[in-house]
Symmetry: C2
Subunit: 185 residues, 2 copies
DNA sequence: CTATATCGATACAGATCAGTATCGTATAAA
DNA sequence: TTTATACGATACTGATCTGTATCGATATAG
């Protein structure tokens, strides 16, 4: 296994564990135990656990937005339906067994100092997602695309929190329907 | 200081620290240091840290819903405005310096096993809040009060998450305006 | 005054935490 | 074959974690 593969595997295992058990509750020892990679190797790739967390979040952000884009692209060309298709991606996310709430909101909850790199990574992710919503809203002909994007984001975040605590049964579909009515109003 | 006062103070200090630093990151040693109460005394009142957390969340839930009720009662008698007034309470919460996201969502993120007492406490809180929304929606004459309550909840949760990560500037007001448009549609 | 209960202070146990130091090994390019 | 690089295994450090054990002080009720 190449060096880059080991690094990638560390990130992959760490992401899974951080999602499942949280950031403070997941020790470095557990990450190396489940990945079968020596602790020394981990610290050759990442100077600290904090650095590993930030790397994991950056990877999550990249993957999240890529997959959401794919879901939107697969929807078709109706610009309003494309905006609403973001909720379909939410549903597939909720239905996956690995779903335990938004990793970025959880991370922001555990590292809630404004200047903390982990918190900053959460901010960055949310901004990028909203920017994508705005892009879709603009394409759908909304003159107040910024405002529409913020509303869609409200429903997204609400759906994630509701699915996390109360269960994912039809939450995304309900949020999508709510968004549809909102866009029509 | 009486026994009950000490217990109450422990809960108060612990709530503040859990909110600010998270649940795993807040050690028992810190709680006793900031409260000036001996560790033995803490463990005479609470059999474990987990038990203290659950007690804190129960107290938070009680206070949260009481204060939200007060805010609604102070609004007047227009039933629809009373439903929308729940967003005004959100804004006062966001503006308080102690706001660091929803304590229940954060707790659910750190203890995300379904059967864990902490997670169960989060579920209970969310159900009670939604039940209150439904009560207000019913009073406002909505025949689909259950559905309206879920929609209001989506916007509430979304506003909390957005305020936590991206800042509280006008988030609640925006959510309120969105809710108003939604109810009119 | 005496009995009971609660308290604070301290030390401790045993586990786990993040991170480092050491050393022998495997691989691959030169 | 030599050299450089990354690796695993292990042991370790010093701090911190939850929780307990011990003991003397204090306060209150009968």
């Amino acid at each position: 296994m190449k060096r880059d593969q080991k690094r990638a595997q560390l990130v992959e295992i760490a992401m899974k564990l951080f999602d499942r058990y949280g950031y403070h509750a997941t020790g470095v020892d557990r990450i190396i135990a489940e990945s079968g990679i020596a602790k020394t190797t981990l610290y050759r790739h990442f100077p600290s656990k904090e650095d590993l967390i930030v790397t994991c979040l950056a990877k999550r952000d990249e993957r999240f937005r890529d997959e959401m884009r794919e879901c939107v692209e697969a929807t078709g060309h109706d610009p309003r339906e494309r905006l609403l298709a973001t909720f379909d991606y939410l549903q597939t996310w909720f239905d996956s067994p690995a779903f335990h709430g938004c990793p970025f909101v959880c991370a922001a909850g555990e590292y809630c100092e404004q200047n903390h790199p982990v918190f900053q990574q959460a901010i960055l992710h949310k901004r990028l997602v909203i920017a994508y919503f705005e892009e879709l809203a603009h394409a759908a002909g909304f003159t107040d695309a910024k405002n529409v994007a913020r509303e869609i984001n409200l429903l997204h975040e609400g759906a994630v929190a509701a699915a996390q605590v109360l269960g994912h049964e039809g939450v995304a579909a309900h949020a999508k329907q709510t968004a549809r009515r909102l866009l029509a109003a």
